[in-house]
């Protein structure tokens, strides 16, 4: 196993997802929830996947984790490679369990994500018993240590309590302790702070960053909160209608936004910097019906820059600067206005 890891080219990213496509069979027809998503994450880095509800963010990470129920779900194309090894549709890689051991995951609503009839300590201890072969007693002792690491006071007492005796923020800390119990190389956080109030949100994000520094794990953060993205992300993937429409470093995506949807998101977000105050502009309309995906760009009907070709043909990924890319016809060589980056008033 060790040898296999060493054979991998050090330049290979920790996790690479390529052209992932996921469908769901429903009574209303087949929904193409994810339509070709690619991204990669490096060790110690944080990738944020941003997008509105129903754009396929959660489905993307859940298919990597093998949490999509099949049927009705179906992964129709694409690959996800961990250190170069295919993990889609598999439960182990190099003899190591993917779920829990290689990739840990935390969810949106900590109140319902923990088993109500099992003590917090037992739930944290469970992956240690399964993946590491700890005895029940050792695993529980380790669970207490992990709770302390997640900054839960009186961890020994707390470990013997049940989820209903915890607050939402405490439960999310416990979830983090549980997801990180087997020292995974990647932590997937699916809207980890959406259900929490703002002060607790900041504490949870701080905790995640602190633990990332200690362990060097990669974080895939799913959110629709651009504030959280700005605070946490090294890399950003903006998703819309099952596709990644803009991808790049946080600076590129925020300051040199290249896709009209990213610009729209920014214009809809308030800021407390007086120099950047602007009128909030909502994005009119709604995302396309993924039962029958449009022939052209999914954002076309809502896009202020839309051209004729946008409704006819799917745009390609256009590389801009470094690995910054946007899937938009505006960047095509034959486009009239071929902006290096789209204009937005707070950019330079």
């Amino acid at each position: 196993m060790k040898a296999a890891e060493e054979n991998v080219d050090p330049a290979t990213p920790l996790l690479t997802v390529e052209d992932l496509q996921v469908e769901f069979d429903t009574y209303g027809g087949t929904v193409q929830a994810v339509r070709g998503v690619s991204f990669s994450v490096d060790q110690g880095q944080t990738l944020a996947i941003v997008g509105e509800s129903g754009c396929g963010k959660s489905v993307t990470v859940q298919s990597i984790m093998g949490l999509i129920p099949t049927p009705p779900g179906r992964i129709t194309a694409g690959s996800a490679r961990l250190r170069g090894h295919q993990i889609l549709g598999r439960s182990t890689v190099g003899g190591k369990e993917i779920r829990g051991a290689e990739i840990g995951m935390i969810f949106q609503d900590p109140m319902t994500s923990l088993n109500p009839t099992m003590t917090i300590g037992d739930q944290i201890a469970e992956p240690l018993q399964i993946h590491r072969g700890y005895s029940a007693r050792d695993a529980f002792t380790e669970a207490i240590r992990l709770l302390e690491l997640s900054k839960i006071p009186e961890a020994t007492k707390r470990a013997q309590q049940y989820p209903f005796e915890f607050s939402g923020g405490m439960l999310q800390r416990a979830m983090i302790a549980m997801a990180l119990s087997c020292k995974p190389s990647i932590l997937i956080a699916d809207e980890p702070t959406t259900a929490l109030d703002v002060t607790i949100q900041a504490q949870i994000l701080d905790l995640m960053q602190e633990l990332q520094k200690e362990t060097g794990m990669a974080i895939i953060l799913i959110t629709h909160d651009l504030g959280v993205v700005a605070r946490m992300a090294d890399e950003v993937a903006v998703m819309y209608a099952g596709k990644v429409v803009e991808y790049g470093s946080a600076d590129d995506v925020f300051y040199r936004s290249a896709h009209p949807y990213t610009v729209g998101l920014k214009e809809a977000m308030p800021t407390n910097d007086p120099a950047r105050q602007h009128e909030l502009k909502p994005i009119d309309g709604s995302p396309p019906d993924l039962f029958a995906p449009p022939a052209g760009c999914g954002y076309c009907p809502r896009c202020p820059y839309a051209m004729q070709i946008c409704s006819d043909r799917q745009p390609q990924d256009h590389n801009l600067r470094g690995h910054h890319s946007a899937s938009c016809w505006l960047h095509h060589a034959q486009s009239d206005s071929r902006p290096e980056t789209l204009f937005f008033k707070d950019t330079h």
Binding site: M65, L67, S91, E97, I98, R99, G100, A101, G104, M105, F107, D109, T112, S113, L114, N115, P116, T117, M118, E126, P127, I130, H131, Y162, F164, M175, M178, A179
Partner: protein, 311 residues
């Protein structure tokens, strides 16, 4: 926890008192009189009985006497079967009903949980359809029909084999108990199966089962550690009323299988206006059911930690 149990027991005593009072006054409003029937009764017997129950006294005094006797655990003497104390009738026949009832409840609960979990696992596949078909049958066909049919098939079975595999009726050995208990518990088992199925499906799609999957917990362990205990909670909740339905509903099955249980005496007492037996058995049944419900609640507290701190 102890405080919780104490609270429940006190509530239970209050309930029993309500049952006793309601039965007493209801019996008083029934037309007729325990001592006027077609059987000849000497003046001495009548006077003795009137003195014992204070039947010549005003109703409030009678009620107080009734309560006093009840507190001592004395239900009085049967009016119809002379020289037979109600306590003796209960002592003699209740254990038979209780064994039958408990066995039926055990059948119903284990069968319900097992089949319910099975149908949920095989959702919308053959085992699910098959079991759910039988469940509908079990709920809709009344127990006396099932009882008669099972007797009929037992007769066929015994003649086919040439010796008595399972007795058709009567009481005594474990063999006598199996079929009646199964028949008695059948409709409850069907009901619990349906309940367990839906609760199991709900748990299967819950967030914490998804969390368990994301931790890499193997499916069998998810089933035993995460799904079963949570799915069983609604089943335990209705187990109290289910025990009530089984024990009070037992007399039909007791009659068909000629089992000397308490249910038969209860029904006969009502038909013959045997006041003391009616009141005695009613209060006794009531107390028994209250006790079972408390027991179920305490068990529930052990399964669901959220209930424990409610005291």
């Amino acid at each position: 926890m102890w405080l919780y149990i104490l609270k429940r027991v006190l509530q239970g005593l209050l309930t029993v008192w309500f049952i006793a009072t309601a039965t007493f006054f209801a019996m008083h409003n029934v037309p007729g009189d325990p001592l006027t029937n077609d059987r000849a009764m000497t003046e001495t017997t009548r006077a003795n009985l009137e003195a014992k129950y204070g039947l010549d006294q005003p109703i409030t005094t009678q009620y107080l006497i009734f309560l006093r006797n009840l507190a001592r655990g004395d239900f009085g003497i049967s009016f119809v079967q002379e020289n037979r104390e109600v306590n003796d009738i209960i002592r003699e026949h209740f254990p038979v009903s209780a064994i039958l009832g408990v066995l039926a409840v055990v059948f119903a609960a284990t069968g319900g949980v097992l089949f319910g979990a099975l149908t949920a696992l095989y959702r919308n596949r053959l085992p699910d359809y098959l079991i759910m078909f039988l469940v509908i049958l079990g709920i809709s066909v009344p127990s006396f029909v099932v009882a008669a049919l099972s007797q009929l098939s037992l007769v066929s079975l015994n003649t086919l084999v040439g010796f008595t595999v399972l007795p058709v009726a009567g009481w005594g050995t474990v063999m006598h108990m199996l079929v009646p208990a199964l028949v008695l518990g059948l409709s409850t088992m069907a009901y619990l199966t349906r309940l367990m199925r839906s609760s199991m499906l709900e748990v299967t799609s819950s967030d914490y089962v998804r969390t368990a999957k994301s931790k890499g917990v193997p499916p069998t362990r998810i089933f035993t550690r995460h799904q079963l205990r949570n799915a069983i909670l609604p089943v335990v909740t209705v187990l109290g009323p289910a025990i009530a339905a089984i024990t009070t509903g037992g007399f039909v099955v007791e009659l068909v299988f000629a089992i000397p249980g308490l249910g038969r005496y209860f029904v006969e007492a009502v038909q013959q206006l045997d006041y003391t037996v009616i009141m005695g058995t009613t209060v006794f049944y009531g107390a028994f059911l209250v006790f079972m419900v408390i027991l179920v609640d305490v068990v529930y507290g052990f399964i669901d930690p959220r209930v424990r701190l409610d005291s």
